[in-house]
């Protein structure tokens, strides 16, 4: 607790902001410095940070957070269609409406805990997904997905209508595609991270950690735990809504597949891979999964031959033969293997790996700190 001063908080935020904003530079050697992927890093980073506030801090495993992602996307596109192409209202409405959804779903689902809670959230998300394809088609446009059209009212933009073709999303004139789009997402990621940092270090955050640790004790200690859980649920739902609306900002269309259970599962994977309940873990997990999805999947046999071209011919062919199933279409195999390795050997995720290395380095110089890796609920990486 003594290291958590205002100064350390400021330092952390400066370092974090610098790291995020310079991503186009330091991602270059990894072949990931193109706006499309960087946007995805930021957006899924927000999604995972928010998810971690629920799953990481309270231990409640939701399998339905993609529903909020979808709600955020649809709301943002509707804001583009009806109001304006400015992204600010889209983001605000997307976040707010997802929050409202989360109040309803959370209120019902939080009547149960453990596996029953997970199943209830999964049921809600699947229901939303199927409704989007059936009765809600007037709102969601079903399988063709919700898109912009030239004859949309856009009542706030009416005066400035010009040119032909579909308008693009903008922030006071700056188009929200490419790098400007990334920087917009990055700024929101930084804000989202700061909010999560403050929650982690607040009395509220400590109470959530205590609920995760021993909920029975909490009620005998004088806390009504349900509003705390609901608050955490709604906050994480709003993060998901924000992420969803940013997807629409960078690419203004919204389809129901965003609500599918695989999308809910993906954010669970991100959080666990990076480190449940740690500040940075979910971000790392999100980055890693999106990197695999976009970079590894683009490797093919030819690229592999180039990579291994320094080897003798026979060895080169053998290496390509071995590695080939793990790249391209097979990137899921790599991800699956990595996930298994992490869960089995580092149950605290990649962050636990970092902490172990840190303790190992420190061991010679000073006494190891009180099991930094074990404090999942109050990470000490600050």
């Amino acid at each position: 607790m003594n290291s958590q001063s205002l100064k350390s908080e400021l330092l952390l935020m400066v370092a974090f902001s610098a790291a995020v904003l310079t991503m186009p530079i330091w991602m270059e050697p990894f072949g990931a410095a193109y706006p499309d992927l960087l946007q995805k890093f930021a957006i899924f980073g927000i999604f995972a940070i928010g998810y971690n506030i629920l799953f990481g801090m309270t231990g409640y495993l939701s399998f339905g957070h993609a529903a909020f992602l979808g709600v955020g996307s649809y709301t943002a596109v509707w804001s583009f269609k009806l109001l304006t192409m400015n992204v600010i209202p889209a983001v605000i409405f997307g976040t707010a409406l997802a929050g409202l959804f989360a109040v309803v779903i959370g209120f019902i689902s939080l009547r149960r805990s453990g596996i029953y809670f997970s199943i209830l959230t999964l049921a809600f998300a699947q229901m939303s997904y199927n409704l989007a394809y059936s009765v809600l088609t007037p709102i969601t446009n079903g399988e063709t997905s919700l898109q912009l059209a030239n004859n949309d009212p856009r009542i706030l933009d009416a005066a400035s209508v010009s040119g032909s073709g579909l308008p693009s999303t903008e922030l006071f004139g700056e188009k929200m595609s490419g790098y400007p789009g990334f920087y917009f997402c990055a700024v929101l990621l930084i804000i989202g991270f700061y909010v999560s940092l403050r929650i982690f270090r607040s009395p509220f955050g400590l109470k959530l950690a205590a609920i995760k640790s021993n909920q029975t004790r909490m009620s005998y200690t004088g806390f009504n735990t349900r509003p705390y859980l609901l608050a955490a649920f709604v906050i994480s739902g709003m993060y998901a809504g924000l992420a969803g609306s940013l997807m629409a900002v960078t690419d203004p269309l919204a389809g129901a597949e965003r609500m599918q259970w695989t999308a809910s599962g993906e954010v669970v994977l991100m959080t666990i891979l990076g480190g449940v309940g740690t500040l940075f873990g979910p971000l790392l997990g999100a980055g890693l999964i999106k990197y695999f999805e976009n970079i590894f999947s683009s490797y093919n046999e030819q690229v592999l031959h180039e990579i291994f071209s320094f080897l003798p011919d026979l060895l080169e062919n053998v290496m390509v033969f071995i590695v080939n199933p793990f790249v391209g279409e097979g990137w899921h195999l790599t991800l699956g293997a990595l996930f298994m390795v992490v869960v089995i050997f580092l149950p605290g995720g990649i962050m636990e790996g970092f902490n172990r290395i840190l303790t190992w380095i420190k061991k010679d110089h000073s006494k190891p700190k009180d099991g930094g890796a074990k404090i999942k609920t109050r990470p000490s990486e600050g």
Binding site: I199, L206, A209, A210, T216, R217, S219, Y220, T221, K376
Partner: protein, 256 residues
């Protein structure tokens, strides 16, 4: 007996059955302010059930529990805690993943914030007063050297003392202790007795359920003896000690 003003907890006509088993039959009990009231009895006598009824964990089939003028029956555990009735469990209920200091800060927050407060943007390290009080309570119970350790790794005796610290920081009006020394080594037991004596000198009302006669007779002002769900004796330690019914039911005739 005493006048009504002094009664902190009033249990009247409480009955509870589990299936066919009569766990509590028509229990009447009055706890006086500032006193240490021990409830003793053989295993299965209904002591813990009685405590569970008091803190809202179990609803009685009939009868009421009153705390001052407030009826506790039907209230939730957190409402009862917020009224000032705080419980120490038989098996220590702590927050194993948190540090000792955090373990004590959480109940202090409950006392200050009430049953719900959304203070997500306050800074924990800025709560100097709260942290100071938590450190003070830990010092009081001799746990100050481990306050930044994770509580899961403590010995059982230390866990029990930690739980006591968690209850004391709330300055309860009534403290309910369920076998506070069970499973403790003798020197730990004596240490706990010392702590409880100190609390007593501050005028806190306590109900203590205990097997260990050494503990009971060093602390209690008043003893009620439960056997098979009914109170069979009630009085000062000396009165209870001399009661043949008690010796029969509880001690199998052995001398106290």
């Amino acid at each position: 007996m005493e006048n009504v003003e002094n009664i902190v907890l009033n249990v009247s006509g409480v009955q509870k059955t589990f299936g066919g088993l009569q766990a509590l039959s028509n229990i009447n009990l009055k706890i006086e302010e500032g006193k240490t009231h021990a409830i003793i009895g053989p295993n299965g006598a209904g002591k813990s059930t009685l405590l569970n009824v008091c803190v809202g964990k179990l609803a009685p089939d009939s009868g009421t529990v009153k705390f001052g003028d407030v009826i506790l029956t039907g209230k939730t555990p957190y409402e009862i805690n917020q009224l000032g009735v705080v419980r120490v469990f038989q098996t220590p209920e702590i927050f194993p993943e948190l540090t000792l200091l955090q373990n004590v800060i959480v109940p202090a927050l409950a006392k200050r914030d009430g049953e719900f407060k959304f203070n997500a943007f306050g800074r924990l390290f800025g709560e100097k007063e709260l942290v100071g009080e938590a450190e003070h309570v830990l010092e009081d119970l001799g746990l100050e050297n481990q306050m930044h350790d994770i509580s899961a790794s403590m010995s059982r005796g230390d866990k029990r003392r930690l739980e006591l610290a968690m209850c004391l920081i709330q300055h309860p009006k009534l403290l309910l202790l369920d076998e506070p020394t069970a499973g403790m080594a003798r020197h730990d037991t004596n240490r706990t007795i010392d702590i409880l004596k100190r609390i007593k000198s501050r005028g806190m009302t306590k109900v203590i359920i205990e097997h260990d006669m050494h503990v009971v007779f060093s602390l209690a002002d008043h003893i009620s003896v439960l056997a098979q769900g009914a109170i069979i004796a009630d009085g000062t330690p000396d009165e209870v000690r001399g009661n043949p019914k008690v010796q029969e039911a509880y001690l199998g005739g052995a001398h106290l």
